[in-house]
């Protein structure tokens, strides 16, 4: 089993597009992938469940991955968080 605390670090938080991205990734893997905080955790393969996860910027979520191909699944989800869900691609404000 793999587990890690992950910071939601993109400016708009764990919104619909992010949930979609995580869900799509989760569905590629066989392992059980769960995300949550404070005793409430959800199955990442359920987009609806992910949508109920309230996590604005700054929230720490716990990722738990278990089962076949767990390491790959774990790395893939961690990478999404680390890249802030590739959100900056749509950023429009100058950051010179």
């Amino acid at each position: 089993m793999f587990t890690k605390e992950l910071l939601v670090d993109n400016s708009s938080g764990f919104h619909v597009r992010v949930a979609t991205l995580v869900c799509k990734e989760a569905m590629k893997h066989k392992a059980t992938i769960r995300l949550g905080k404070g005793g409430y955790d959800v199955d990442c393969k359920s987009c609806l469940d992910l949508l109920t996860l309230m996590a604005p910027k700054g929230t720490v979520l716990t990722l738990t991955v278990d089962g076949e191909g767990g390491k790959e699944a774990f790395d893939a989800i961690v990478s999404l968080f680390e890249h802030k869900f590739y959100e900056d691609e749509f950023a429009d404000v100058a950051r010179a």
Binding site: T20, C47, L51, T52, A91, D92, R95
Partner: protein
């Protein structure tokens, strides 16, 4: 005449007759079924899911094509909700074990999530309930063969008034037919709001209960800028809003005309360059479409931050990206490529460059310091830029240069790379100008040292402000000190303008300040003639430049100079923009 206030989500004024769509609920009852009917109910469910998936996929493609990729993604979430295995299992269980009809099973399963989401405190999350309801309704329409789409595609030239509007229904609206939208529920963060705004239909959501008081073909005014809905307005009010509508349309046409205009002039005939800041090659297209006078800042860090496993991008990766941007922008306008501005907040999380966690990263190994330490990486970037220079007019800019030695070291490496390419016989532009960014107080006060040696300067107000006020802009405890209208920053900008002019070196400003409409007249007044802004701000910035005279801008700068605080300056600048562009200039 009756006034209602809602949430303004898409600007613009419209006056017209309303088309009323009372769509607040389907009538779903828990109808019991026989055990022999289970199989057929499940089959009905199957085909409903299939058709709904097809409908959503069509919407996704339509939205992507008409509005852009990110709008299409909204419907991708809907498709995933449809594929939610847990939800499907719950619905099938209600049918096969509880022996209830498929429409009720669907209604109940979705309702659980809709209520859960509505119950969350945050408005942004509560709005998600709309997406869930949208998907549910797609299924229910199939199951009940209800065709609400007919109701929504009402007669053309009318205002659509409904209890609520799903994002997918909004996406299907024809902006030439539906002139405005007003609903009882929904909010700013909802996808309906995003879609309506992308379609450019004036929209007010979340007005509260008003549908029951409305008759088909009542006259109404919708002001998508202020959130006002006026039902059965009197003659005088209609005239007032008619005038407002005309003013707005005039401004919109003016702005569209500016798209074609690369050379913009102030009312007293002074030419101003409005360029674009980009991060991704695709944004260069936006700059060209908006008639930018080139790319004033191409941030190359993304090549690093998006490369697989944060590996150092190779020369070919650099080359491909630069070639694509330069081919888009061409030779008539220039593209200023800024070398890696990595470090501080823009850094890979691993230990690629810094093997200890820096206690003070903004003062640490970042930007040009990092490039001068990791010269192999720096050299491959410079090689790639030079190689790409045959595809368009390119200039190179070094970030966060604080001493003359750093500038000379960077230039020396550039010259060395240049010699290599000459030896190898690789074609490139032999006159690529080199510039430095003015981003620290040290650079500003020592500018006369740099001026004889560099080809151009560019002020990066974000870092300059941060180092001037000694404030970490990402730290919310001190963020209030981070004001672009800082009187100290004003003085640094003015000094930079004076020195650049004295030495005849081109100067541009590419920080966030240039993208703030209120600051544009001030910057022109301080003597800047070239601004680089985010692509979405290009047209508006050009509009401002074309609306002010330099004389007036200088007067504004002189007055702003005398205010004691950033807050006073900001209030003054707002009043000035309003005075020239009208009271709705900041909407």
């Amino acid at each position: 005449m009756k006034y209602y206030h809602g949430i303004p989500v898409s600007p613009g004024v419209e006056i017209g007759l309303v088309s009323v769509v009372a769509n607040n609920n389907f009538l779903i009852r828990p109808r019991a079924i026989e055990s022999t009917q289970v199989a057929s109910e499940l089959a009905k469910l199957d085909s409903a899911f299939e058709s709904a998936a097809e409908t959503l996929e069509r919407r996704r493609i339509d939205a992507s094509e008409q509005l852009g990729e990110q709008y299409g993604q909204i419907f991708e979430a809907h498709a995933l909700i449809l594929r939610d295995a847990k939800l499907r299992a719950q619905i099938e269980k209600t049918i096969s074990e509880d022996r209830l009809c498929s429409e009720y099973a669907v209604y109940q399963a979705f309702d659980y999530y809709a209520k859960l989401l509505q119950g969350l405190q945050d408005a942004l999350y509560a709005d998600r309930a709309n997406d869930v309801v949208d998907v549910r309704d797609q299924l229910l329409r199939q199951l009940l063969a209800v065709n609400q789409e007919v109701a929504l595609s009402s007669e053309s030239g009318k205002i659509l008034a409904a209890n609520f509007l799903n994002p997918s229904d909004a996406a299907k609206l024809d902006p030439t037919k539906t002139i405005a939208i007003v609903t009882e529920t929904g909010g700013l963060g909802s996808h309906t709001a995003i879609v309506a705004s992308a379609l450019g239909i004036p929209t007010v959501l979340g007005v509260g209960s008003f549908i029951s008081e409305l008759y088909e073909d009542d006259l109404a005014i919708v002001d998508g800028s202020t959130g006002l809905l006026i039902i059965n307005p009197d003659q005088e009010t209609v005239q007032r809003y008619q005038a407002k509508k005309e003013t707005q349309e005039r401004r919109r046409r003016l702005r569209e005309a500016l798209r074609e205009k690369v050379v913009v002039k102030t009312t007293d005939g002074v030419e101003i360059e409005v360029k674009g800041n980009i991060e991704f090659p695709s944004e260069a297209v936006k700059c060209v479409e908006n008639g930018a006078a080139g790319v004033g800042l191409y941030r190359t860090e993304f090549l690093f931050l998006t490369s697989p496993n944060n590996s150092v991008p190779d020369e070919e990766t650099h080359f491909r990206a630069y070639k694509s941007v330069l081919e888009t922008v061409g030779f008539e306008q220039s593209t200023i490529i800024r070398t890696f501005d990595l470090g501080a907040d823009k850094t890979p999380d691993d230990n690629t460059f810094v093997n200890v966690k820096e206690p003070n990263p903004f003062m640490g190994l970042r930007s040009i310091r990092l490039s001068l330490r990791h010269t192999e990486m720096f050299r491959s970037q410079l090689r790639a830029i030079l190689r790409a220079s045959v595809y368009g007019k390119v200039k190179i800019m070094f970030p966060l240069v604080t001493t003359i030695s750093e500038w000379r070291d960077a230039r020396a490496i550039f010259m060395d790379v240049r010699d290599d390419l000459l030896d190898e016989g690789v074609p490139f532009d032999h006159d690529v100008p080199l510039g430095v960014m003015v981003e620290t107080p040290a650079t500003v006060v020592m500018l006369e040292q740099f001026a004889p040696e560099v080809d151009f300067f560019s002020i990066g107000t974000n870092d300059l402000l941060q180092y001037t006020q000694a404030v970490d802009r990402s730290n919310e405890n001190v963020m209030s000190l981070y004001q672009q209208e800082s009187p100290a920053l004003l003085r640094f900008i003015r000094h930079t303008v004076s020195v650049s002019n004295h030495y005849g070196k081109p100067l541009s400003l590419c920080g966030q300040m240039a993208s703030m409409p209120t600051c544009v007249p001030l910057l022109l007044g301080l003597g800047l003639r070239s601004l680089s802004v985010s692509p979405s701000m290009i047209l508006q910035t050009k509009e401002i430049c074309e609306s002010f005279s330099i004389e007036r801008c200088e007067e504004i700068a002189r007055k702003a100079w005398r205010f004691e605080t950033a807050a006073d300056i900001r209030a003054f600048l707002r009043s000035q923009l309003r005075a020239v562009l009208g009271s709705d200039a900041l909407e």
